[in-house]
């Protein structure tokens, strides 16, 4: 369990200010300056695969497409490609599978049949808008945990942020935490709807203080999802929380990450702002659905290139 902070400590939060133009400039700079090329790119891409929470959150999800998804989670990259890169025995799977609460049972069953120990993550608390009664939101969490979900992605109540009710927000997230029990709690901040970077920072802090294991940028259903400026603010909040309490909270960007190049940029960002310790599935996830196929395509291109230039003759080292 995480360290509790008394609600009287919330006064320092109101003094926080984030300068938006400066954060935007920093975001542009990171994207320009830390790019990964050639053989290192293949290693980074495979590492990115291990961070993916393979997601399907559509109205037309049925047991059959859930089953396909779970299979894909166990075998994300083609076997022959992995063999050629000498990575077939490194246990490369995605980090988790993310579905709606009604589909949790199907996902658990499919993963068991595939003989896979990947956790099933469920969204909850009125995903994506969160505009339902607190009672039903808490019940959703409990039901999802009962069905076998070991990770819960909850959505915060944006109206509390926009009206500045920080204590009420803290209390709500504490209740979500209690309802999760032993399950892993990811708090979605829906940053596209929070209005300002200062609000993003404050909401991140409150979420972490209330006991979240991860903070997540967005549901993927807003107009603006995961962007670099927002991520920089959240990562700074994570680092500040770590300095204040010694607890490491994870980060998950979700929504809008579709290409392999994007995923590399995200990895660079986390490495730049928080360091290598956060580049583990326990502390970093990427919420994506179509990203996997693009990564596979890019890795196969790199492999073909390497065959022409002979770079991968000895295979690549395990990414650290």
């Amino acid at each position: 369990m995480k360290v509790d902070m008394k609600s009287t400590d919330l006064s320092w939060i109101s003094k926080i200010q984030v300068n938006q133009p400066a954060v935007l400039r920093r975001a542009e700079q990171i994207q320009a300056r830390r790019t990964v090329k050639k053989e290192w790119q293949a290693a980074w891409l495979l590492k990115a695969v291990t961070f993916i929470d393979l997601t399907t959150l559509s109205g037309d999800d049925t047991p059959s497409n859930i089953q396909r998804l779970c299979y894909k989670a166990k075998y994300p990259i083609r076997e022959d490609l992995l063999k050629a890169l000498n990575m077939h025995d490194k246990d490369i799977t995605t980090a988790a599978v993310c579905v709606y609460p009604a589909r949790v049972c199907d996902a658990v069953k499919a993963l068991k049949a595939a003989g896979c120990s990947i956790p099933v993550a469920s969204v909850a608390t009125g995903f994506p808008a969160g505009q339902t009664h607190l009672k039903t939101r808490l019940e959703e969490i409990r039901l999802a945990v009962e069905d076998g979900a070991t990770e819960i992605d909850v959505v915060i109540n944006r109206s509390l942020v926009l009206t500045g009710q920080w204590e009420a927000l803290y209390d709500e997230i504490r209740q979500f935490r209690k309802a999760c029990g032993e399950a892993h709690l990811k708090t979605i901040l829906a940053t596209g709807e929070l209005g300002s970077l200062t609000n993003v920072y404050k909401a991140s802090m409150i979420a972490m203080m209330a006991g979240s294991d991860f903070i997540k940028t967005s549901t993927g259903k807003e107009t603006v999802n995961a962007t670099f400026p927002v991520a920089i603010v959240m990562l700074r909040a994570i680092r500040d929380f770590f300095w204040k309490t010694g607890n490491k909270v994870g980060f998950k960007p979700a929504g809008g990450i579709r290409s392999a190049k994007d995923s590399l940029a995200w990895l660079s960002l986390v490495k730049e702002e928080l360091g290598d310790e956060w580049l583990k599935p326990e502390l970093f996830r990427i919420g994506a659905s179509t990203l996997l196929s693009d990564i596979e395509r890019q890795v196969s291109n790199l492999y073909l290139w390497s065959k022409l230039t002979g770079v991968f003759e000895k295979g690549i080292e395990k990414p650290n």
Binding site: Q17, V18, N19, P21, A22, V23, L24, R25, R26, A32, R33, R34, T35, R236, W243, E272, G275
Partner: protein, 613 residues
């Protein structure tokens, strides 16, 4: 158009303005200008527009003294700038100096600390900033800033500049040595040093360095901070921060970090720097002028001001070199030549001698002597005080005391006073005209001179109203405010001719723009100026305009060597350099284009070896 000599060790500034050709002298270590010149040459049609010579700094004065050069723009270190300036004295070459590369960052407790730390990285540890950084941190956030800064330094990457994934490259072995020496000296004076970052260990690479706990009285605290060093010092209040920041002799660029708009603007206005950024550092745009104050030079690059540096209004007569080989600068004006006392006086007893007009009233000179002024027929016209170095010092001090109040006046108030003086002159037209007549001017011409003087005052009063701050919006995600600030205390040495008109025409612009003045009136007839002072005494606040009479050469020397005079306008006997003002009766008032430089006090010109740039 004409030849311009340009010396830019760091960058080739856009000085190929309309019509000028350029010769650039660059240090051998930077080949980029040579490449640029090669590309320009390939364009074909006009060979010789851009020429680049690669050579050591000592060639600078040689290049600048070539006959066809009309303007020299120098960008580099203070000492070399001084040498160049000395070598150019007396030649009719315009000199623009952009000295020093240090900048300043002021971090208040209401700042977004993480973004401010990024600002520090931009300023000192990237390829965007040219020099080191002086970092002022408010005490209450000192620990927080230090921690974040050190953590951030650990993630900086240094390496060859062409590798896209590095944050900073190297500036050469010389810069590396300079940084090394500075750090050693700072350590020996008691400072602590922190270095971090992923830096290759070979010599031209120097790691990002943070120096703190440097005692404020140590010499390093005043010296220019080299790249890539950051010297951090704490401050308690905004007032203290301004005092520390304005206390360094350099005035290049600075940034203020505060999320409170009012505080940010107050600090921004209070800093005596050429460029101030708010919540950003190092943003540049070609349409925004950049330059410096004080020891950072006096020329501007970019924007309309930068363009006007290379232009002159049409119809300006060409300048004549006034370099006199016989002039010995060491003894020029050192002592007042002694004169025999005048013979016995005949006729009615003359009026008692005028005193000096200092601090709003007439005072006796320190030397307690006066000199006779003769009229056009050789008779005695009156006596004026013999001013000396002590009087100059007193006058400058009085001007400084009046300066803040005057600068703080609204343009309307300034205009009002100038208009009141114009009205007073008109009321006294007959007295002034009769004085002019005694100097040999015809009555009609004398009256015309008085009228023109009044008109000049009114016109300048109107210009005071029109002057303001201008707002530009460029591609920088925010507006740019161009402030025209008064320089401070101006010293003016009037020409002999046009004793009334010249005096008024030089007084008015200086005052209209918010400066206070110390004037040395026409040597032939200072009485007109002193008449005007009688009106000034009743109308203007004390110390606004001060008039010191005496031996013109001696007073000029005193003013030039005075360390606290911001600019000197000199119109002298055989060496009238700006013929422009000799024809003042023909010209309409100069338009903005004739004023170059960072302030309305344009014609900043020093004949002698003035030590201040």
């Amino acid at each position: 158009g004409g030849g311009a000599g340009v010396w830019t060790p760091r960058s080739l500034s856009c000085s190929t303005s309309p019509g000028s050709t350029v010769v650039a002298l660059v240090p051998p270590a930077s080949p980029t200008p040579l490449l640029l010149a090669q590309l320009a040459g390939e364009l074909g049609s006009f060979p010789g527009i851009l020429n680049v010579i690669s050579g050591p700094a000592s060639l600078g004065p040689v290049l600048a003294s070539q006959p066809a050069i009309q303007k020299v723009a120098f960008c580099g270190a203070l000492e070399e700038g001084r040498v160049l300036r000395r070598s150019l004295a007396g030649k009719c070459v315009e000199l623009g100096l952009a000295l020093g590369m240090e900048s300043l960052l002021l971090l208040t407790d209401t700042a977004d600390v993480d973004s401010a730390v990024e600002g520090v990285v931009d300023a000192a540890w990237s390829d965007r900033g040219p020099g080191g950084l002086r970092l002022l941190i408010q005490e209450s956030v000192w620990d927080e800033v230090m921690r974040r800064l050190q953590e951030r330094m650990g993630r900086l990457r240094s390496g060859r500049g062409l590798d896209g994934a590095v944050d900073m490259g190297t500036r050469g072995a010389a810069a590396c040595d300079l940084a090394q020496r500075f750090v050693h000296e700072a350590q020996s004076q008691g400072a602590q040093v922190f270095q971090a970052g992923d830096v290759p260990p070979e010599r031209p690479f120097y790691p990002p360095t943070l120096v703190f706990n440097l005692p404020p009285a140590s010499p390093c605290a005043q010296a220019e901070v080299p790249w890539p060093v950051v010297v951090a010092s704490p401050f308690r209040t905004a007032k203290e921060a301004l005092a520390v920041a304005n206390g360094t002799p350099r005035g290049g660029s600075a940034s203020v970090w505060s999320e409170r708009l009012g505080q940010a603007l107050e600090l921004g206005y209070g800093l005596r720097m050429g460029t101030v950024w708010i919540n950003a550092h190092g943003l540049r745009d070609p349409s925004v002028p950049t330059g410096g104050c004080k020891e950072s030079g006096c020329s501007w690059h970019g924007g309309p001001d930068g363009l006007y540096e290379y232009l002159r209004p049409s119809g300006t007569p060409t300048q004549v070199s006034c370099l006199s080989k016989n002039m010995n600068y060491d003894t020029f004006g050192l002592t007042v030549p002694s004169t025999l006392p005048a013979g016995p006086e005949i006729g009615p007893s003359p009026a008692p001698p005028y005193g000096l007009f200092v601090g709003g009233r007439f005072q006796a000179p320190g030397a307690r002597s006066s000199r006779p002024i003769q009229d056009s027929s050789g008779n005695l016209h009156g006596y004026v005080a013999e001013g000396g170095a002590k009087d100059i010092r007193g006058a400058v001090e009085a001007a400084h005391q009046a300066a803040p109040g005057w600068a703080g006046q609204s343009p309307g108030a300034r205009a009002g006073l100038l208009w009141a003086l114009a009205a007073a002159l008109e009321r006294r037209k007959s007295t002034l005209a009769s004085r002019l007549e005694r100097q040999g001017v015809e009555l009609k011409a004398a009256e015309a001179e008085v009228e023109l003087s009044a008109r000049r005052l009114r016109a300048w009063g109107a210009r005071a109203q029109a002057q303001g701050h201008t707002l530009q919006v460029s591609g920088l995600r925010g507006p740019v405010l161009r402030l025209r600030e008064p320089l401070g205390v101006l010293a003016v040495v009037c020409p002999d001719e046009w004793p009334l008109l010249a005096f008024v025409s030089l007084l008015a612009p200086a005052l209209a723009c918010g400066n206070t003045v110390v004037m040395v009136p026409s040597a032939a007839c200072p009485l007109l100026a002193l008449e005007v002072c009688q009106d000034i005494a009743t109308l203007f606040p004390a110390g606004l305009a001060n008039v010191v009479t005496g031996d013109q050469d001696h007073l000029t020397r005193c003013l030039a060597l005075h360390q606290d005079v911001q600019a000197l306008w000199y119109f002298g006997s055989a060496q009238v350099l700006f013929v422009l003002f000799c024809h003042i009766q023909h010209l309409t008032l100069p338009t903005g284009s004739s004023f170059s430089g960072n302030s309305p006090a344009l014609l900043e010109f020093l004949l002698l070896r003035g030590e201040t740039p």
